[in-house]
Symmetry: C2
Subunit: 248 residues, 2 copies
DNA sequence: CGGGTATTTGACGACTGTCAACGCCAGTGG
DNA sequence: CCACTGGCGTTGACAGTCGTCAAATACCCG
């Protein structure tokens, strides 16, 4: 988990982001692109299994994830991790409006990733000057909040099988909205190790394995070469008590 | 859980809120009080055990809690509840910036409560006109988010004892910041039933009872007549792995 | 091809849930 | 004043989900 970022380039325009239509970049389609141009910092690239930021640091930067998967988590005193959220391309992470406060979670790349960083204070002044951007951030936060609530419900009340299936289905939906799944076969990229799944669901890795094996032998999913295929959407949504949200 | 609100009055000024120095009202100390004056809706009063809003409704209003305790929760398909957050005086609840979207959680009064309502769209236009208010909302959301993360960590990784103790200590700190505890004896008002504790912690009511009994027999707390006293702060913080946040 | 990483499997036990019954207390109404 | 009722807390028995430990196997990347 070393920390070695590569500055790809001094990017010409941050709003060249391939996923402009979601996340923060959606807001940048307005007049304040001009301002934004001057605020962006460099674009960075990190390999898999690299710490992006730590919960004890001061939060100087926020990021937009262009490509890759991140695990946002909180460390437990016993050394374990509790996963909070998996960030996919287009997601906005690390924002902490309380100036000079430490982050309340850590972030780790699960795959090689490309991000675009913003100084928090620059974002702050952008938001003051462009209320529509502030509203946009507010809405992103609100959506994250809703997902947090769903997460709490899952960990607090669902069985191991339900939690895992829910996680898979949620990822499928989010990837689908990004055009990253094969809709025909319902196959998705799936770079999560069982340990990461256990982090996200509050289970042990061993138990995750048992449940995954059962899902496979029940012919609900197949999973090989970091690709996961859903074999029975209806039954899966029932097990995971999953309801597709309007947007992801 | 009937739903019968009482409109106390057409309040003269919403910013007469007794807890002006926290929550949204903090922001109202600026120039846009004038605007805000025209936006507030009525002040309402509800008895204990009354639903304030439901997760399936459209979210037309947001509220500032003036007095009382609320439980924000999400219903589980099996009929159970998963507690998300306990709101105390001064807290801002029910905000959902995605216009016309359903709420993602329900709210229930645990004690008789007094609230001040805002139309969501009015809040929205206030925020557009007064970016500092938008920033304020952003910061409130961010703080709630941090608490959500802590909650996820607790439910996902802590033992029953740890979760319950953490909940108690967090409430103590928040009440203390509101001047609602007897600091000498470390005694706080505690209107939570064991069922509500079980909702918040993801445990069963019976097991909550067992743990509470143990805490009492271990002389870590006493609890009677809806008053709870902390007897050993140091040991409690260790059991609950509790760290006082800078602000509440 | 080799070494580290990830997955798999089994045995065992603990934490926590479920069910059921009982007691306590406050508010209510006769 | 007292019986009644409903809500809440308490207790015991029992079961099951899930964690822990440990070891073997399969997999992947250099």
């Amino acid at each position: 988990m070393k920390k070695s970022f590569t500055v790809i380039s001094n990017p010409t325009h941050c709003h060249k982001c391939p996923i402009k239509e979601r996340s923060l970049y959606q807001a940048f389609s307005n007049d304040y692109i001009q301002d934004a141009e001057h605020k962006r910092t460099e674009q960075i690239s990190i390999p898999a299994r690299t710490s992006l930021y730590d919960e004890h640091e001061l939060s100087d930067k926020a990021y937009t994830l262009f490509e890759g998967w991140l695990l946002l988590y909180r460390a437990h005193t016993d050394g374990g991790r509790q996963g909070l959220r998996i960030a996919l391309s287009g997601d906005f992470v690390g924002y902490a409006p309380l100036l000079g406060s430490p982050r309340n979670h850590s972030a780790l790349s699960l795959t090689p990733s490309i991000l675009c960083g913003f100084q928090q204070e620059d974002l702050h002044s952008l938001m003051i000057n462009h209320p529509a951007l502030a509203m946009q951030v507010t809405q992103l936060q609100s959506r994250d909040m809703a997902r947090c609530h769903t997460h709490i419900l899952g960990i607090g009340r669902k069985t191991a099988e339900g939690r895992i299936v829910h996680l898979i289905l949620e990822l499928y939906d989010r990837l689908k909205n990004r055009g990253l799944v094969s809709s025909q076969t319902m196959t998705m990229p799936f770079p999560l190790t069982q340990e990461v799944i256990s982090d996200m669901t509050g289970l042990s890795q061993v138990h995750v394995n048992r449940v995954m094996s059962k899902l496979k032998s029940d012919k609900l999913i197949t999973c090989k070469y970091k690709q996961l295929t859903l074999l029975d959407w209806d039954q899966l949504t029932e097990i995971g008590e999953y309801f597709s949200p309007p947007l992801n």
